[in-house]
């Protein structure tokens, strides 16, 4: 490699290294304080106290969805591994909103209740046909029955 090219190579490599370092540090810093959402246990631990409005993320607790008869008001409970929070929302919910679905709600705290102005459903990364899902659920249920039967047999 001739000296001119070598010099250019070094200059380009240095510029890229410097830019990577700057952006890498920026990204690292953002990881500390860029929170798209808080989970119920984080909110209950006081992590979201500085924010007037913030996003609450977690799973909709199975069977907790209650719709009002004469308005669009919906109440449900959002849970994570270590906490639960009642949420109130008035409006149209996305298609994927259902029991045990991950959701992200934007809003503010009103006492112990979270009043949402927007509810988004988070989609997981799994794609499969309905028949397969049903078959899997069935296999899962059968396995449970077999296990229970096996446990009954053992003295």
């Amino acid at each position: 490699m001739n000296p001119t090219r070598k010099r250019r190579l070094i200059i380009v490599a240095l510029v890229v290294a410097a830019a990577s370092l700057a952006i890498g540090l920026g990204v690292y810093a953002l990881q500390q304080n860029m929170n798209y959402l808080f989970t119920p246990s984080q909110v209950q631990a006081g992590r979201a106290d500085h924010y007037k409005t913030f996003r609450l993320g977690g799973m909709v607790k199975g069977g907790s969805i209650q719709r009002s008869d004469n308005s669009l008001k919906v109440t449900f409970t959002v849970i994570d591994a270590g906490g639960a929070m009642p949420v109130e929302y008035t409006g149209i919910l996305p298609d994927l909103f259902r029991d045990n679905q991950a959701v992200i709600a934007t809003g503010h705290m009103d006492g112990a209740r979270f009043v949402a102005t927007e509810v988004l459903a988070k989609h997981d990364a799994t794609y499969m046909p309905k028949e397969l899902k049903d078959a899997m659920a069935k296999a899962h249920a059968n396995k449970k029955i077999e296990e229970a039967a096996a446990q009954d047999k053992t003295p």
Partner: protein
């Protein structure tokens, strides 16, 4: 490595050789793109079963995901070509880098639009400032910046060098786009198809997706070859080989 490979690559770097090479390969690339595209679309839109949660709405992934992969793949190609252009000043590398940018920008735009169309019914919003969406938007602006900077100079080669610098620095955004769903809590879901480890998608849905991925790759090659050929003719306008082509075209 066989001796002839470096020699062949060296020859391929010369504009007239690449002009002929790209011209010979382009129809094949286009035919393969059409073939895989039709197979992928038929498989994805007709044969693949509906999703257990999303029903038919998930079918946007057959456009969205291949486009998103291409938006990053083309940026990587552009970055490598820009690096070669800056260090070795190879004319062909400059042209490849600069002509990749509009194709990459188009794929990025398609990714953002299809994602937005899907996001409204599924998530409940057209747009949200989460890390994946924001970094993909930054990728679009980087492409537009490279295109703009290239055309801002009177001298095309000088413009190519300035834009190549921007392209190289912007390549840092590509891993950010890819890993954003792991590094931050985002609304956008994580990766479904994994090179290492099991993919979270049924085979009936995966093969049309892979077919579409091949189609977009071949389309990129076909489109790039055509753009590079045109650009080479413009850049080398005064040279003998271009004059010969012009003369033979005039005769027929």
């Amino acid at each position: 490595m066989a001796r002839w490979i470096p020699l062949w690559l060296h020859k391929l770097g010369s504009p007239p050789t690449f002009y002929r090479f790209a011209g010979a390969l382009r129809p094949w690339m286009l035919a393969l793109a059409l073939l895989f595209g039709l197979i992928g679309l038929y498989g994805g839109l007709v044969l693949a079963p509906p999703d257990y949660q999303q029903g038919d709405a998930y079918r946007i992934i057959f456009i969205h995901v291949p486009s998103a992969w291409m938006s990053m793949f083309i940026y990587a190609v552009m970055g490598v070509a820009a690096f070669i252009a800056l260090v070795w000043r190879i004319k062909l590398a400059e042209v490849v880098a600069m002509e990749s940018a509009p194709i990459g920008a188009a794929f990025t735009f398609i990714t953002l639009v299809t994602g937005s169309l899907w996001g409204k019914p599924m998530w409940g919003t057209w747009w949200t400032w989460d890390a994946r969406l924001t970094s993909e938007l930054v990728l679009l602006f980087l492409y537009l910046g490279v295109i703009g900077l290239y055309h801002a100079f009177e001298d095309r080669r000088q413009g190519a060098r300035a834009a190549a610098f921007l392209a190289i620095i912007g390549i840092i955004n590509v891993p950010i786009v890819h890993f954003s769903v792991n590094w931050w809590n985002t609304l956008h879901q994580g990766s479904t198809v994994n090179l290492f480890g099991p993919s979270k998608i049924a085979w009936d849905m995966l093969w049309p997706l892979l077919s579409m991925t091949l189609a977009t790759k071949f389309y990129y090659a076909a489109s790039l070859f055509r753009r590079v050929r045109t650009d080479l003719l413009a850049l080398e306008g005064g040279k003998d080989w271009v004059r010969k082509i012009a003369e033979s075209e005039a005769r027929t």
